[in-house]
Symmetry: C2
Subunit: 338 residues, 2 copies
């Protein structure tokens, strides 16, 4: 898969966003700010800010980018905050190929660094005032970030709870991944719409685009958790299986055959030898779970593309290249191996 436009636009945006965040997340005490920048400095896909910047430029042209960059930075800071706290909760040692924040700085400073980043996620949109945003726009942007952050916490709550119960079906799973992952990508695309001064209806369409991309992205994430290459994902493999996560891969197989469900119940209750993990992977393939998950992600991808088509029909696209990069971002979300 070659993402010609995305690669071109993406690299530019990643550099832009990194330089803005480095300027914004500065202060004292030094150790706390270092801890807050630790994960951000390690890179990452920058998917969310790219969506904000590409949506904004696609519909608002180059002039809206000066505002959008602050919303994009806010979203990326919020995303990184959630990763820092997640890694503490999951006791993960590695992320993006480097030791996690709490491994380097200790749990207390990591909790606090997350909280600091959280506050910056709300303060950063205000910087768009100097790029011409008015208070109406700031109010909208901050509310979108607030809703996103609330949903992340709720989604994480479900995620933790689902580890301890088998009373979870596909609908529950989809709700959980929407809250945990989809909502912030939805926020990212909405913020691009807000920066471009688009009509509410267009902002909503962009939001739906982001929601579908987010769902596809998380399903792909769950697939990579079992079939990915740690050298590319930067994360250890089989963590979800070891933690009893009720991903779609596990839920689908467990619904298809009682025997498979029994196997996963046993696996999740503690017997996690290499052979057992291997058997789990075999079941996920044999049951059709992998295919099913890929189809599901594909469906969401198609829905995302439909939303872009609806936006295009309005004849409001100002920058074709940025708009095309949104299509490629959606495609990336279901095909990515990192």
């Amino acid at each position: 898969m070659v993402y010609e436009t995305l690669n071109k636009v993406g690299e530019k945006y990643a550099l832009l966003i990194d330089s803005y965040i480095s300027d914004i997340l500065r202060g004292e005490p030094e150790d706390l700010y270092k801890a807050a920048m630790h994960l951000i400095k390690a890179g990452g896909k920058r998917l969310r800010p790219m969506i904000t910047l590409a949506s904004s430029r696609a519909l608002g042209g180059a002039s809206s980018e000066a505002k959008a960059v602050y919303y994009a930075a806010a979203v990326e800071i919020l995303h990184n905050f959630s990763l820092v706290h997640d890694d503490i909760m999951d006791n993960d040692d590695f992320r993006r190929g480097i030791p996690t924040v709490h491994k380097v700085y200790g749990v207390n400073l990591a909790i606090l660094a997350g909280d600091l980043m959280f506050s910056y996620a709300f303060l950063t949109p205000y910087l768009a005032i100097k790029a011409g945003a008015d208070n109406n726009e700031i109010t909208k942007a901050v509310e979108v970030i607030g809703e996103g952050s609330r949903k992340i916490a709720e989604g994480q709550g479900y995620d933790i709870m689902f580890e301890k119960t088998w009373d979870v079906d596909e609908k529950d799973y989809l709700k959980m991944i929407y809250l945990k992952t989809g909502a912030l990508i939805e926020a990212s695309s909405k913020l691009g719409g807000i920066a471009s001064n688009s009509d509410d209806e267009i902002v909503e369409l962009l939001g739906e685009f982001g929601r579908f991309v987010g769902l596809a992205f998380q399903i792909r994430d769950d697939i990579l958790g079992v079939f990915g290459d740690p050298a590319k994902t930067g994360k250890p493999i089989f963590n979800d299986l070891k933690r009893g996560k009720k991903t779609i891969l596990v839920l689908y197989a467990s619904k298809r055959k009682e025997e498979w469900k029994k196997f996963f119940i046993k696996l999740f209750s503690g017997n996690q030898s290499d052979e057992n993990i291997k058997e789990a992977v075999d079941i996920i393939k044999e049951s059709g779970s992998l295919n099913y998950a890929e189809e599901l992600a594909k469906n969401y991808y198609n829905n995302a593309i439909d939303k872009l088509d609806s936006i295009e029909k309005n004849g409001i696209v100002k920058d074709e290249e940025s708009f095309k990069s949104l299509r490629e971002l959606a495609e990336f979300s279901i095909n990515r191996d990192k």
Copy 2:
């Protein structure tokens, strides 16, 4: 000490704020929201929302209260968020006389409940729109909350760092307690000014009032940490001494006599027998630390009152009773035993 006006106004405000927060902090998953409400339900002084409500009513009359109650709720939610995360970091078992959130719900859900509360601190001010606030006012209110939350994290960062170093003087201590405690009380009084549509200059004066109250309040807190009655404070005693906190009580004594400093260095490096704690208490009294801290708090109280006097001179006080309760709140902050 009898706080006639404060008792009357305060009880009304505490009930009001509790009922609003109970209505706002609702949602799913149930366990997460229960964890978020755990500490709030246990009561608390509600000092911060009282300051917001009293400032607002004092200068804006009864009509501004409908908006102010949302800002007051936001501040109280933010305050409780910071306590939930603090208790995890300090591994405290009790707060407000009940087991802390992480003791009841586990560390993971407590981190998450804190994050959820954090997001609500930013979403709650938006509810003031239905009480007549416009986007300019919301923008101001949310920014004040954002600045407050950033400072809390920075202050906590210093607090943690100071446990591990003796390179801390009174100036460092005062900066730390301003960030950790003063800033949110400053935000509380500013928000009252914003709700009452006061001029920027008055909002600033209110902020300074809050800042001084906050400094006095935290110094009193440090005194109660050594001389308080756990049955009244709801917190275990001597925690600060056991944790090596460089409170003003310790800093002042350590500066006065090398011998006392050596004692505290030894105490903080691990030898915390009952006799040693008792000796620490004796040193704090003998060194004049207790007197000094009380005088310092008194000074801040006087500064706070000066700010109220300046406001009063403008002839803008609309509700004398609420204004008087602000004076009593300042007095409470230096005389309280809970």
